[in-house]
């Protein structure tokens, strides 16, 4: 195959060095960029998982920072606490909390699935691939974790909606 840069020192160490020194703007040419992250449709369920896990993670981090700030109003006494609590007692606040419940449930269950898959569990074992070359790692066994995550997130959101809108009575 064509080596575009002409003759190249092909040892592993110099290759690693070249990667480390990659400062050439053209090296980034045709990289998909963030568009590559946000392409959840055509690559299967694992890509959906990747996208949702990342999105819920960022969302939950924002919520966590907000939650720590929100609870800090405790130190200013009951009035400040009540004023802060008031903000979450609106319909918008309830919807936001329901989204937090859904995101945290999904992120947790899918995260457990990912810990298993990252540990090589539930992916099958290497073998001798034969046509049509269906990959063993993208199987329904580990994917079921993703579906369970979606289902439990929906259930948790319904339960959360019930608690929040009824005050848990």
């Amino acid at each position: 195959m064509l080596l575009w840069r002409g003759s190249i020192d092909m040892t592993s160490a110099t290759s690693a060095k070249r990667i480390d020194d990659n400062k050439n703007k053209s090296d980034r040419a045709n990289r998909e960029g963030l568009r590559g992250w946000l392409n959840p449709i055509i690559y299967g369920w694992e890509r959906v998982s990747y996208w949702f896990q990342r999105l819920t993670g960022i969302f939950l981090l924002v919520y966590f920072i907000g939650h720590v700030y929100e609870t800090s109003s405790l130190v200013s006494g009951p009035d400040a606490w009540a004023a802060m609590l008031e903000m979450t007692q609106t319909i918008g606040g309830h919807i936001f909390l329901i989204l937090v419940i859904g995101a945290s449930t999904f992120h947790t269950i899918n995260g457990i699935r990912l810990i298993f898959t990252h540990s090589g569990q539930g992916l099958g074992t290497p073998g001798r691939p034969d046509y049509p070359y269906d990959p063993t790692s993208v199987n329904n066994k580990q994917r079921s974790g993703l579906w369970i995550a979606f289902i439990l997130a929906a259930v948790a959101m319904l339960y959360g909606a019930n608690v929040l809108f009824s005050g848990g009575e």
């Binding site: 290759s15 045709n30 990912l114 540990s119």
Partner: protein, 290 residues
């Protein structure tokens, strides 16, 4: 093609979409081939555009056949790289209707459409038209030291060298990953590669596992050092896209996860592998002593 409903063994129906499509005056089916055009080397400021060609196709026509037809009879300047035409060399990788595929391995009748859009592989710098620069890709491949390294094999006296014994079970641990043809489809489908220049990509990481799992290899620590960095194996999030697009069933995602389980110290198979490796080393030593 919707990859969620992937069925490569699609039955050949009596009436394919092509037969319902436009037909030329000679009665042959025609498809519209949209080809990405750019000459990035000759003119760095060249604006990419698509050229369209009407190409006659049959049920068994591949995208590569169609491109070569367009190149032969309509525009000889189309830039395309190909060699074996049988999914063995990995030269003709390109984005076909939005998904990285081998042009020689993609039948037009399987695409269920009359418009075929061919673009260069994403995440590879352009050279010309559908031809991309694989330098970074091969740099990453080489950086993981894709070769068997065994200190005991470095014997000055060549006549002293003996063959390595390897059981079929040992072979099965890495054989799948050795089927990689370095076509770059996994690299172009990977979401991390889309933004991370230093990430080795699915191909290089699965090759790292291929040599790690090889019972003949004894120099694992250096390879693991290269991949255990802030832009190494941990930037894989198991999006599985690499395995979806791999035309040879290498399943890079599996190799990467097994490699990661090795780094996490969680893999039972790795412990077994280590035992096997010790055993083979001992038997080698015994053989040496005789």
């Amino acid at each position: 093609m919707n990859i969620f409903k992937k069925d490569k063994r699609k039955e050949i129906k009596n009436e394919t979409p092509l037969e319902r499509s436009n037909t030329s005056t000679s009665g042959q089916s025609l498809v519209k081939l949209r080809v990405f055009r750019i000459n990035a080397v000759q003119n760095p400021n060249d604006v990419p555009h698509f050229d369209e060609f009407q190409v006659p196709v049959k049920r068994w026509t591949t995208v590569l056949d169609a491109l070569l037809d367009a190149k032969s009879y309509q525009d000889s300047s189309i830039g395309i790289r190909y060699s074996c035409r049988m999914a063995s060399c990995g030269s003709c990788g390109m984005k076909i209707n939005g998904i990285p595929r081998l042009a020689c391995y993609t039948k037009i009748s399987d695409l269920d459409t009359n418009t075929i859009t061919c673009e260069p592989l994403p995440n590879f710098p352009y050279i010309r038209d559908l031809v991309t620069d694989f330098s970074q890709f091969f740099d990453h491949h080489r950086s993981v030291m894709p070769f068997v390294k065994n200190k005991k094999a470095d014997i000055p006296n060549v006549n002293e060298l003996t063959e390595y014994e390897q059981t079929p079970q040992d072979l099965d641990k890495f054989l799948q990953f050795s089927y990689c043809i370095k076509c770059g489809l996994c690299y172009s489908a990977c979401p991390t590669v889309a933004t991370d220049l230093k990430f080795p990509g699915p191909q290089a990481l699965s090759q790292a596992y291929r040599y790690l799992a090889d019972s003949r290899d004894s120099d694992k620590s250096k390879r693991l050092k290269v991949i255990d960095t802030s832009h190494g194996i941990w930037r894989c999030h198991f999006a599985g896209s690499c395995s979806h697009v791999c035309p040879k069933g290498v399943d890079p995602a599996l190799g990467i996860q097994l490699l990661r389980s090795h780094l996490l110290g969680l893999s039972n198979s790795e412990k077994k592998l280590a035992k096997l490796h010790d055993r083979s080393t001992n038997s080698y030593r015994e053989g040496e002593g005789e």
